[in-house]
């Protein structure tokens, strides 16, 4: 069934709300207004105000309430409108939710889901366009998934709601309106921690996440090299086996990221693969990222900021041809020395 990503999210929520009376959904403007991105369309009508609630603008309060609710029998799904708003609630996720199982000897667990819209491309400016996976990355006890379209949004969200631990779902905002074929029902559920090979190839393994998946696919189209393109889908835990097995066949790794160069999520993938697959690598591991600057607001700068299809194609092409790491554009064009 073809649908927009926002519709797939609303459908995943509705399917879980229907199948499990413990599921509740709350966040800012998600009930009566059906969500600022219309990701909870129809939920209040069908499930009523006891289970579908608008909250005040108080992320620390309602994320904390989700922790307490999850520990005592509910399966809350909370929405953070823009990932940046998680900053004021980070304690509840990183220091409370993800530690409850450990700090109760396994007696309490926190089956909550925190959804947030992320990413650039829509002109929201520096404080509404980040992805911020790395705020959460070094947090044992937490899981983190990132859909790349309607199909994975549906499947990962349903898996997240059924998971016994806190799961963060980061939804690339720019993809909410994009349509894709979605497998609904139980068959559409995508297990957490499992990546997916979207295209087979033998010259290079390209690992991408979120909105960079479609960029990587487009860059590989009609290229003179054959890329094996992996949608990582889960970042905590990430599918080490799948990636390493692929690199063992291709001998090259490129990570395409919507994150700053310094400390972006791909550093983990690159360092692991560089060490684990050292013997089979024929070229240095390479990351294609954004520059180390805040996300600029104007359209032309935002487009420059995000790795484009042409840029990704050129970078991968150079790596495959020379077995040397191409420099990023901000260095070759002289903006950063």
């Amino acid at each position: 069934m073809k649908m927009r990503m926002r519709q797939a999210i609303a459908m995943a929520l509705a399917d879980e709300l229907r199948s499990d009376p413990r599921v509740v959904v709350f966040g800012e403007d998600i009930a009566a207004a059906e969500g600022p991105f219309k990701t909870s369309e129809g939920l209040l009508d069908e499930f009523g105000p006891l289970r579908i609630r608008d909250t005040p603008i108080s992320e620390m309060g309602f994320v904390g309430a989700a922790v307490g609710a999850a520990a005592t029998g509910l399966r809350p799904v909370v929405e953070i409108m823009f990932i940046e708003f998680l900053g004021v609630a980070l304690d509840q996720l990183v220091t409370e939710a993800s530690k409850f199982r450990y700090l109760s000897g396994g007696s309490y667990n926190v089956p909550m889901v925190l959804r947030a819209s992320v990413g650039s491309g829509l002109g929201f400016g520096s404080q509404h366009s980040q992805t911020l996976e790395t705020w959460l990355y070094a947090t044992p006890g937490l899981k983190l998934v990132v859909p790349s379209g309607a199909r994975t949004a549906y499947g990962l969200l349903r898996a997240a709601i059924r998971d016994e631990d806190p799961v963060v779902v980061l939804e690339p905002r720019i993809l909410y309106a994009e349509r894709e074929d979605v497998v609904t029902g139980e068959d559409g559920i995508i297990p957490i921690g499992v990546g997916e090979i979207l295209q087979s190839g033998n010259d290079v393994t390209v690992v991408a996440l979120g909105q960079m998946v479609r960029t990587a696919l487009a860059a590989a189209k009609d290229a003179h090299w054959n890329a094996e393109i992996i949608d990582l889908r889960s970042l905590i835990p990430w599918d080490r086996e799948l990636v390493c097995e692929s690199v063992s066949r291709t001998g090259r790794l490129v990570v395409v990221e919507e994150s700053p160069f310094s400390g972006g999520w791909g550093t983990e993938i690159a360092s692991y693969v560089a060490a684990e697959c050292f013997d089979v690598l024929v070229a240095p591991v390479h990351r294609i990222t954004c520059p180390d600057v805040p996300v600029p607001q104007p359209a032309h700068l935002e487009q420059k900021f995000l790795p484009s299809v042409d840029y990704v194609r050129e970078q991968i092409g150079t790596l495959v041809r020379t077995n040397e790491r191409p420099k990023p554009w901000w260095i070759t064009e002289g903006y950063v020395s």
């Binding site: 413990r22 509740v24 006891l50 289970r51 609630r53 909250t55 005040p56 108080s58 620390m60 309060g61 309602f62 994320v63 904390g64 309430a65 989700a66 922790v67 307490g68 609710a69 999850a70 520990a71 005592t72 029998g73 509910l74 809350p76 004021v88 304690d91 509840q92 220091t95 409370e96 530690k99 409850f100 199982r101 450990y102 700090l103 109760s104 000897g105 396994g106 007696s107 309490y108 667990n109 044992p140 006890g141 899981k143 998971d163 016994e164 631990d165 297990p191 957490i192 921690g193 499992v194 835990p237």
Partner: protein, 330 residues
């Protein structure tokens, strides 16, 4: 023959055993301080001498099925709710007999059979979590309520205000209990807070509030019982402020040198353990001789526990790797 946490909880229906529990908290806290001073314990601890009446009054006024969130100054609450001395001391001393296997330490206790959610080392963090536990009761239609215990210092953090606001607009069955011991860590309340009565803050959330004598078991229990009845009946949250005092410093590293001369002595005159003992004697429920005997019995109980804990195995390396995520997860 040791009693389970639930059995220990039920003992609090007997006034004599309430006093026994207060003594137990006092002696254990004093001895924990000693053990740290002797270098037998690693890390830090936050003891609650002077606040025993609050812990016991709360535990006797709510049901074991009710949810409790409390702070890192939580040994007293934990013992009052029913946790055994061995399980608390074992946790403080990193032993596998600790209530969560020794990986948590002094600040992290938890016991679902008596409703104790994991205690938090973050000031105020438990407030919205208790609100969420109350939300569970409301959505699931359970006859349960939640209790959030925190200090006066926590009333200056956002979590307090966001938690009270959420509980008020959703009319949740939760009781907020502020142990106002007049110090937030090392700072006196008048330097950090423009009011001395935290209960005033409930007005902003259209929430009933009450100030009670934090050294009086009966006064606190009456207020908590009334709030719990209102919460269960759908009447929403209440804020109870217990005026109390911390006989020790903030943590083991703090001798409380910043306290004005004579302040501690004034509060020692209203020692909750002594006050309750007098009350029981005046009511002829206890006589002086048996009170003395009970003090000796409790002291012996704690010494025996210390001996057992010291002889018990340290938390295993394997325990460090357990309970990070669920076993069903990849």
């Amino acid at each position: 023959m040791t009693n389970t946490p639930l059995e220990r909880r039920r003992m609090l229906s007997d006034p004599i055993l309430r006093w026994d529990r207060m003594l137990e908290i006092r002696v254990l806290e004093d001895r924990i301080k000693d053990l740290f001073a002797e270098g037998l314990v690693h890390g830090t601890t936050h003891t609650c001498q002077g606040q025993e009446a609050i812990s016991v009054a709360i535990a006797m006024s709510i049901r074991p099925s009710d949810h409790v969130c409390c702070t890192y100054r939580g040994h007293g609450t934990a013992l009052a709710l029913g946790l055994t001395v061995d399980s608390v001391l074992g946790e403080v001393m990193g032993r596998s007999i600790g209530v969560i296997g020794g990986v948590g330490g002094s600040m992290h206790l938890s016991e679902p059979s008596v409703g104790l959610l994991p205690t938090s080392a973050i000031v105020g963090a438990g407030i919205p979590i208790a609100v969420g536990a109350a939300l569970s009761a409301q959505v699931l239609g359970e006859d349960r309520c939640a209790v959030s215990i925190f200090g006066d210092g926590a009333s200056n953090i956002g979590a307090f205000h966001e938690g009270l606001n959420l509980a008020a607009i959703w009319k949740l069955p939760v009781v907020f209990i502020c142990e106002n011991n007049t110090y937030g860590e090392y700072s006196p309340i008048n330097l950090t807070t423009p009011i001395s009565d935290i209960s005033i803050r409930a007005t902003s959330y259209a929430m009933p509030a009450e100030i009670v004598d934090g050294q009086s078991v009966d006064a606190i229990a009456a207020a908590v019982s009334a709030a719990v009845v209102r919460a269960r009946a759908g009447g929403g949250p209440t804020l109870i402020e217990c005026k109390t005092y911390r006989y020790s410093g903030h943590s083991r590293a703090d001798a409380g040198a910043y306290r004005p001369a004579g302040e501690l002595d004034e509060w020692l005159k209203r020692d909750p353990v002594v006050l309750y003992e007098k009350q029981l004697i005046e009511a002829s429920l206890l006589d002086v001789a048996s009170a003395k005997e009970m003090r000796a019995t409790v002291a012996k109980r704690i010494e025996d526990s210390i001996e057992r804990v010291l002889a018990s195995p340290l938390a295993t390396v394997a325990s460090m790797f357990q309970n990070v995520i669920g076993s069903q997860s990849k």
